[in-house]
């Protein structure tokens, strides 16, 4: 188990007032794409490639929706932590 934690996931609520649309979605997918390992974003029963702007947009994520970020591979926990931190930011406040 010591080096074996290669899968990580966490569920959170979306902070952005306007949900995960447009700019916030684009910031998120770019970060997910830069992770270098497969990352998925799920809302309800649907799960999409978190690096896909079209996939993420198609989930229609609104403010306060519950979503799950999961990653598989090297540094999975760190990747999930970073992406969760992004989703906890209210992008629209900037």
């Amino acid at each position: 188990m010591m080096q074996g934690v290669l899968v990580a996931e966490q569920t959170i609520r979306i902070a952005s007032a306007h949900g995960l649309h447009a700019r916030p979605a684009s910031i998120f997918t770019q970060a997910a794409g830069a992770a270098g390992i497969p990352v998925h974003l799920a809302k309800g029963a649907r799960s999409v490639n978190a690096a896909s702007i079209l996939g993420v947009i198609s989930l229609g994520i609104d403010h306060d929706d519950e979503v799950t970020v999961s990653a598989e591979g090297e540094n999975a926990q760190q990747v999930v932590d970073e992406l969760v931190a992004l989703l906890s930011t209210d992008f629209d406040e900037k």
């Binding site: 306007h18 997918t29 999409v48 490639n49 896909s52 079209l54 947009i57």
Partner: protein, 555 residues
């Protein structure tokens, strides 16, 4: 040869034609002859090179165009899209067809979401065209970008097109479709580009042909002779040399004041409007606060935005329109049910009345912002169609402490009963776009009936005259806040019909200010009579144009 259309503004230009290329035909749905592996390779290469090319264009363009183009490049290399393309190829389709279908399915998904995401659907179409063009080895349809100034001919321009246009190179715009409220017309007014819209045979003109575009006359002269060219060059030089009318309050030649106000959609444009001489705000649209939201913003949030706007106009009039949702701008939390005829449905004040708390919150936020600033706040209700609705709105607005309460006149019933409506309200503001749509029973958003959407129509002008007369009799102000007020010559006619203030996109202020100064109130009234006596919008425009040219332009 000549083409006739609807001129936007009074500009004059001449130059060579470049046509906006037609979109590519849909790739045929035929079985692949190359096999799935070869098709996949072609699709992957085309998507990657299109993404790279778009990114490069973004770097060259910079600014907001770069953001639009970057977003497009991400769409081209999107992993979900690429999986979809692969699946379609594996079912036997060609790369062209698979790409086309995959983009179309995401386009439909985005359109279905409406609002901001719905607008991104046009971007997906654009990327799809580029990838398909790459696969077919044909030229990419898109915006011409030569290194010389040109006159752009197009069917109509989509917002995505105009985001990419190099406006410095475009000396005029001519479209075959679209009316005075089309996206092209609005862009032309905002950027002060010479434009003629709805000129039916525009797409028969070849690239490179020299044309004269005379927006005031609504006339495109194709391949003019030397004499006409020389005369046009002289007129253009003359106009440029005319001392620009200094920024100042709007007035007619006899000194009759006609306050010129700005139409604003957010607090951001306020500083620019003031710089361009806006004497206040004649229409502040509040929809932006609500778009993309699933619930109405709180009173505190709204108050913050209103205060920011009002602070830019100390001592000036600011007319705020209560939330106008429905029809072309539906909001999730207000317009729940799908309607067969949204323009005739639960929209404007009707929708607010069905959700009274949203209306009360908005008015409360506005009253608080009013109390905290120096601006002279007026508030008005959208889409009022009865005297009873007028009473309803004025009662609630006065209850929360707003002092000057009016209604928009956009429906013929309100224009016809303006004397009774203005007995209840403190002022009226005429929205000419909707008034034209409802008077001529022609959907503003439907290209096939765009020709009806012309505020010069005598039926529309007669209704404006009804409101003007009621205003005069009762001593109540009557403003105009539709696109009509931005057409300089029509603005003079509207004043002749009794309009007491004009509100428009800030970029249109200079043109209207200059035009008003040429005529007295008596002349404006004479123009109004000429327009009312005409049989059609074209006749009205031609009659007033002829009269306006009679003494003035022979100086």
């Amino acid at each position: 040869m000549e083409l006739r259309g609807i001129g936007i503004g009074r500009g004059l230009a001449l130059g060579p034609v470049l046509r906006m290329p037609e979109p590519l035909p849909e790739p045929a749905d035929v079985p692949s002859t190359l096999g799935a592996d070869a098709e996949k390779e072609r699709a992957t290469a085309a998507l990657a090179s299109t993404a790279a090319l778009i990114r490069l264009r973004g770097e060259r363009a910079g600014g907001t165009a770069k953001d639009v183009l970057d977003a497009q490049s991400f769409m081209a290399e999107d992993p979900t899209l690429s999986e979809d393309v692969t699946a379609r190829i594996e079912s036997g389709k060609t790369a062209e067809r698979a790409v086309f279908e995959a983009f179309a399915s995401f386009r439909d998904l985005l359109s279905g979401m409406g609002g901001y995401m719905g607008e991104r659907a046009v971007d997906l179409d654009d990327v799809s065209q580029r990838v398909v063009a790459n696969l077919e080895g044909v030229a990419v349809p898109g915006v011409p970008d030569p290194d010389y100034p040109f006159v752009l001919f197009a069917r109509d321009l989509a917002p995505a097109d105009t985001a990419l246009l190099n406006l410095d190179k475009i000396i005029a715009l001519v479209t075959s479709d679209g009316g005075p409220t089309s996206h092209t017309a609005i862009l032309a007014r905002e950027k002060s580009i010479v434009a003629i819209v709805g000129a039916p045979d525009a797409l028969t003109v070849d690239d490179g042909t020299v044309v004269i575009v005379d927006a005031a006359a609504g006339l495109v002269t194709i391949d003019p002779d030397e004499e006409a060219l020389a005369a046009t060059r002289a007129r253009i030089a003359e106009r440029a040399a005319e001392v620009a009318v200094p920024v100042g309050p709007g007035a007619l030649a006899d000194g009759t004041a006609v306050p010129l106000l700005a139409n604003l959609g957010s607090a951001k444009g306020a500083a620019e409007a003031v710089e361009l001489g806006a004497e206040g705000v004649g229409l502040f649209r509040t929809e932006f606060l609500f778009l993309d939201a699933t619930t109405a913003p709180t009173v505190a949030e709204q108050q913050k935005h209103y205060t920011r706007l009002l602070e830019a106009f100390p001592g000036r009039k600011v007319v705020v329109r209560a939330l106008d949702a429905g029809a072309d701008k539906p909001l999730n939390f207000l317009n729940a049910a799908t309607e067969e005829n949204p323009a005739l449905g639960l929209r404007g004040l009707r929708a607010l009345r069905a959700n009274e708390q949203i209306l009360r919150d908005q008015l409360t936020a506005l009253a608080a912002a009013d109390a905290a600033t120096e601006a002279d706040v007026w508030v008005m209700a959208p889409m009022v169609s009865t005297v009873e609705e007028t009473r309803y709105f004025t009662r609630i607005a006065r209850e929360v402490g707003l002092k000057t309460v009016g209604v928009m006149v956009e429906v013929p019933s309100s224009a016809l009963l303006a004397d009774r409506i203005l007995a209840e309200a403190d002022f009226a503001s005429i929205g000419t776009n909707d008034l034209t749509q409802y008077t001529l029973a022609a959907d503003r958003l439907l290209g096939s009936v765009a020709a009806f959407q012309d505020p010069w129509h005598p039926a529309v002008l007669r209704l404006v005259g009804e409101v003007g007369r009621a205003g005069q009799t009762l001593g109540k102000p009557v403003g105009i806040c539709g696109e009509a007020a931005a057409d300089p010559l029509l603005a003079v006619v509207l004043v002749g019909l009794g309009a007491t203030s004009l509100s428009m996109s800030p970029a249109a202020l200079a043109g209207v200010r200059a035009e008003l100064l040429r005529y007295t109130l008596a002349q404006a009234q004479e123009f109004a009579e000429l327009a009312l006596a005409a049989n059609s919008a074209d006749e009205a425009r031609a009659a007033v144009f002829a009269a306006s040219n009679a003494p003035q332009l022979h100086q």
